[in-house]
């Protein structure tokens, strides 16, 4: 099978060219990192553009209506025109807001969303930084996303915003625990937190089979981490206007939604890497001449469709039910999963398989 794909070829070519020009190793590393980051950014923005439309179309499908259908065939240019509109809108900053906190929050929300893409293996050899602590890095960086919501809620100086921000803290801190515990099972099976090792361990069997419980827990906790329905309590339009987003307008408001979709892609990418075999082809279909990054994107979009399906078919959960479910169901279940995985590994070793 052809192992080198287009993007890896491009990267190798660039590296060789830089070496030919006589750049020092430091400069080469920096330039390669910059190109990797720009590549990831383009990937994020392109996906956000597609996902906004996809979400609206999916919502329309579930609610038996047409959705956007005016601009371009089937309304495919809707997002582009929406972005233009948002860019040209006035940037309103209310008088009573805590200016620095209010402004920085909108940018800060984007930083963890971009940073997590450093450890996502998009295809064979296509990872910006194959860290030794790969998945732990994702967990650590993703945990800081809460702060931006809290800052937005606090800085807005508005009751509803603050309630939304506080809800977001309560929810994301609680659901981070089952999210991390669900990933522990996979790390136990692989014996490594390195993303490349986790993908390599799934060439034969995807971890969704031995770790189905963990996958379910991850999927549910993922909704809470993303603040998406049925767990979109921080936003909760019927109760608290739009939560932390209430006072934002124009491009600052758009940044929050850009970050939400970037996070959606990130969470689905991690789900793909940890449970769906990463960029490995579907077992039995490896002979097809499909590049590994296409397999990866296909799986990510499968996960995204699952997330959209649940968002538009479940009603919003009440906040106390949400906390009860997180602490009294998901955490015990994920702990049991770790225990069973540990016993299972020991039995396998004892039987000498």
């Amino acid at each position: 099978m052809e192992n080198i794909n287009l993007f890896v070829l491009l990267a190798n070519w660039l590296r060789q060219w830089l070496e030919g020009v006589g750049a020092s190793p430091d400069v080469i590393e920096v330039v390669m990192d910059v190109f990797g980051t720009v590549g990831a950014l383009v990937f994020i923005l392109l996906n956000a553009l597609i996902l906004v439309l996809l979400e609206r179309k999916a919502a329309a499908f579930f609610q038996q209506r047409y959705g956007p259908n005016r601009w371009g065939p089937k309304g495919v240019f809707q997002t582009i025109f929406d972005s233009l509109k948002l860019l040209s809108k006035e940037d309103i900053i209310p008088k009573a807001v805590d200016k620095w906190v209010f402004k920085i929050a909108a940018y800060l929300i984007f930083i963890p969303a971009i940073l997590v893409f450093a450890v996502i293996p998009f295809g064979e050899g296509m990872i910006i930084s194959d860290l030794n602590i790969g998945i732990f890095y994702f967990v650590a960086v993703a945990s800081t996303a809460t702060l931006a919501f809290l800052m937005a809620g606090w800085g807005s100086n508005n009751k509803y915003s603050l309630i939304g921000g506080m809800r977001s803290v309560a929810q994301m801190v609680s659901y981070e625990i089952p999210l991390v515990f669900s990933l522990v099972g996979v790390v136990m099976l692989t014996g490594s937190m390195k993303m490349s090792a986790i993908v390599a361990a799934q060439t034969k069997v995807w971890f969704i089979l031995p770790q189905f419980l963990a996958f379910l827990v991850y999927f549910i906790a993922g909704h809470a981490e993303l603040n998406r329905g049925p767990f979109d309590m921080p936003e909760g339009e019927q109760e608290i206007v739009a939560g932390p987003y209430t006072e934002y307008s124009g491009m600052r408001w758009a940044l929050f939604f850009l970050a939400e979709y970037a996070n959606l892609v990130a969470v689905c990418s991690i789900a793909t890497t940890m449970f769906l075999g990463g960029w490995n082809p579907i077992p039995g279909l490896g002979f097809l001449p499909i590049p590994t990054y296409v397999w990866f994107v296909l799986k990510v979009y499968f996960m995204i469709m699952l997330f959209m399906w649940t968002r538009w078919t479940f009603p919003r959960v009440r906040i106390d039910h949400l906390m009860h479910f997180g602490w009294k169901v998901l955490i015990p279940v994920s702990l049991v999963n770790i225990l069973v995985t540990g016993i299972g590994i020991k039995i396998y070793q004892w039987m000498g398989w």
Binding site: P25, I133, F136, Y137, V139, A140, S143, L147, M151
Partner: protein, 169 residues
């Protein structure tokens, strides 16, 4: 990574950490102080990365920087002042503060004198996580588990206090 990059990165992270820490003390708004604390923690995490302690750096972000969100929540809830803009004022305990700080610096200075600052004989381990995990569950298993029990007890205590146990009649 060459020495030049390392040096520049070290000074940038140090400056960020020190300035943010100063901000934590000097800012008058409690929420601003707490948010600057995150920046200080991130700066320290950057220095850990420079020292090739990747796992410790991630823990620093996850446990300290991430937990500031809760710190802010508590800070806001437990502050009694009507105006949040003057919630983190300096008080008059100048001399006790000087005494405590001098003590802390004396301890640090004593430790600095005992540390061997020469270059390490062997290169740092490639896989720090594996070594840490083995150490935690073999040589240091008692302190590790004790810390876990201590945290559980503290959490239970917090829940009991929050629930306001009523006297059974």
């Amino acid at each position: 990574m060459s020495d030049a990059v390392f040096t520049v990165a070290f000074y940038v992270f140090s400056a960020v950490t020190v300035l943010a820490a100063l901000g934590v003390v000097l800012k008058k708004n409690l929420v601003h102080s707490a948010l600057l604390l995150i920046l200080a923690f991130v700066g320290v995490a950057g220095i850990y990365v420079l020292l090739q302690a990747d796992f410790i750096a991630a823990v620093q972000i996850l446990v300290y920087a991430g937990a500031v969100a809760i710190l802010v929540a508590f800070g806001v809830m437990l502050t009694k002042r009507g105006d949040i803009r003057e919630s983190n004022l300096a008080n008059r305990q100048k001399w006790p503060a000087l005494f405590v700080v001098a003590g802390v610096f004396a301890v640090i200075y004593a430790l600095l004198g005992q540390t061997n600052w020469g270059p390490l004989a062997a290169a740092g381990p490639e896989d720090s996580v594996g070594i840490l995990a083995t150490l935690m569950l073999t040589d240091f298993v008692v302190p590790f588990e004790t810390a876990a029990i201590l945290l559980t007890v503290a959490m239970l205590g917090a829940i009991v206090i929050a629930k306001e146990v009523k006297n059974s009649k």
